[in-house]
Subunit: 101 residues, 2 copies
């Protein structure tokens, strides 16, 4: 099963934005930004594991995350450096949890 992690420069901006434009995925990205590398199972946001796996696939194929196997788990991490280099400010703008202010 190839991880299928694209070159970020080859991913259209709209794909990156679409990947971030979902509540569950945004929560995953926030968790990764705070906690660093994490196992897929650690993201329990009221969705089934099938759905979670789907979201992680979307994030991976949009170039936002990398995945590596570790035993029976898979560890996911944000491609923060690349993202900040290619889209400076994007993650920072999106990651900060905003109060309903």
């Amino acid at each position: 099963m190839e991880p299928h992690e694209p070159d970020l420069t080859a991913v259209p901006v709209t794909n990156v934005l679409a990947a971030l434009a979902d509540d569950v995925r945004l929560q995953i990205v926030r968790a990764l930004a705070e906690g660093g590398e994490a196992a897929c199972g650690s993201f329990d946001f009221g969705v089934s594991k099938a759905t979670r796996s789907h979201h992680l696939k979307v994030l991976r194929e949009a170039g936002l995350t990398r995945t590596r196997a570790a035993g029976t788990s898979r560890l996911v991490r944000l491609r923060r450096d690349e993202l900040d280099k290619l889209y400076p400010g994007l993650l920072d703008a999106v990651l900060t949890q905003r109060p309903p202010a």
Copy 2:
């Protein structure tokens, strides 16, 4: 016909991102960022005027643009100041046209 332009702070981030995660709308936003205020009709990106109107509505309701009537036309402009204040770096990150690198 109420313009229905929401307070930006009341719009979920995912809505803002979703509004930007479309090729036609991104072209509109880019055109607005470059040319300032423009009439709806000036955005001719291979879609019908019904579709164009739809996209402008999405942008407006996501808090990205403001619209004002001017004769039979409607002038649209980017809410850049507000966006830059609430999501610093977002527009800059997204607006720059990237070559297929």
